[in-house]
């Protein structure tokens, strides 16, 4: 059933992607394709390059001192790492939600959502309000904050702050949304709320989510990749990976024999 809603168009593709911290290679030769409007989970033991790989997809990794990337990442067919590409434009097309909820502390809820647009030069209040409402609804936060849009973003609970960050990322309308362990700092109820809204988001966006929680990956994702020590061991339909993995390492990890 789920397969019917998916598109067959490849929205994002990694080709021989490698990532380095100085001399240390954290990500080794990744080749994978992501289909439009799917949720793709990345699982694997901690510290094995999952987050680093994710951060290569929106070119945030290179902001770290001494970090470098090799290979290609094709967004809608174009390599985002080619010379002459403006990295800022790339990041407008790929959104990111971080592990720790991080609304900008001095801004109100409303300002937090629209800051991305406002700083791009879009200042018309009517447009901003429209986008804010629509994104907050998609993030399942609208009902809770519609009466206090001018209170500080940090006045919300952890789970609400994370949904605010999701709304903020969606506001610039990126076709791809990256999520780096978005629920690992949240309690089970807040986690459940975010997992719920993922199904709504899937209708319009492609999501790539790193998670250390296998059950979460099994619950929400269409495709799953398994990473160990910077290498992608296996990638496929979640239904296949979790019931009948091809690689022994994958099976060992899923059955809890290591990691």
């Amino acid at each position: 059933m789920d397969e019917l809603k998916q598109s067959d168009k490849i929205i994002l593709e990694a080709k021989n992607l490698e990532a380095w911290f100085g001399e240390f290679q954290a990500v080794k030769g990744i080749n994978v394709q992501y289909f439009e409007r799917t949720i793709n989970a990345i699982i694997g033991p901690s510290g094995c390059g999952k987050s680093t790989y994710l951060r290569c997809l929106n070119r945030i990794h290179e902001e770290i001192e001494g970090a470098s990337v090799k290979g290609e990442v094709l967004l809608e067919g174009k390599n985002i790492y080619s010379k002459g590409i403006d990295v800022v434009d790339v990041r407008k097309r790929i959104g990111m939600v971080f592990q720790k909820p991080n609304p900008f502390p001095s801004l109100s809820i409303l300002d937090n959502v629209v800051i991305g647009l406002r700083l791009q030069g879009i200042t018309k209040r009517s447009i901003l309000m429209e986008v804010a409402e629509s994104c907050l609804k998609k993030a399942a936060l609208w009902e809770e904050v519609k009466d206090k849009l001018s209170s500080l973003g940090t006045s919300l609970s952890g789970g609400q702050q994370q949904r605010l960050c999701i709304a903020r990322a969606l506001a610039i309308n990126p076709p791809v949304l990256l999520m780096d362990e978005p629920t690992s700092a949240l309690d089970p109820i807040a986690t459940a709320k975010i997992e719920e809204l993922m199904n709504e988001i899937k209708l319009d966006y492609t999501v790539i989510i790193v998670t250390h929680n296998m059950q979460q990956a099994a619950r929400i994702s269409d495709y799953t990749s398994f990473f160990v020590y910077g290498k992608m061991i296996e990638h496929g339909l979640s239904s296949d990976i979790f019931t009948n993995p091809r690689e022994k390492q994958t099976e060992d990890y899923i059955s809890g024999r290591f990691g």
Binding site: R91, M96, F104, A169
Partner: protein, 286 residues
Amino acid sequence: MKVTFNYRLVRSIKNQLFTFVIVLSAAVVLIPLLMIIQFVFREGASSLNLSFFTELPKPVGELGGGMLHAILGTTYIVLLGVLIAVPIGVTCGIYLSEFSKSKISKTLKVTVDLMSGIPSIVIGIFAYLMVVVPLKSFSALAGGVALSIIMLPIIIKTSEEILKLVPNHLREAGLALGLPRWKVIFFIILKGSIANLLTGIILAVSRAAGETAPLLFTAFGNMYLSFNIKEPMATLPVQIYTYAISPFKDWQRQAWAGAFVLMVLILSMNLFARYFLSRIKDKKGY
């Protein structure tokens, strides 16, 4: 047996003696502080009257008059110093916190440390040579320049500290929204730290407002009210000094009044700024 018992006693006595010495030292430090505050309060508050704040000095020998011109002059010159030092200082603070690994950053840090150790009278001479000599007159401008050099290292240091407190994932969130680095710095990081930066500026102001030495031959002093930036101007510390070393009892009384006002102003600014700065560092808001 006897030997062990005595040795333990000796150690215990040494310990108690040490504790006594420690507490005594604390008293030795705090007592002068309390004495000075009490002294200034007693002599100064009793000499205060409304005319102190509203009148200009009377000619030598005549009783009465006030330090209105000096109070305004201090405000004027300190503000001038702030206008010069804040833009440069905050900019350097941004550079040090956002680009801390570069060679220039490291050199700047050393420069700031060394600059903060320059005796204020030497800074006064520099300002004299750079402003008073070309303009051929003492001036409020020279005073402002001198104070700005005194405030600069303080502002740079506190700005750097405050901006460094902003956690890195906030910067990444800004970058991830597709914003160029300069927008992240100005519209997200800086904008969020304005209250805190102001506190650092208040700390610098509290230091500059109390300085006498660098103003002695820059702003020099004036018995009349002046708002002219190119002319000498009275300031509270210099006026206090002039009156304090004079032989006139009435002037000495006014010096105490001035010292009281100056001290209250500076201590309250200082306490305010330090309190807020320590709160900021402890806060878990981030």
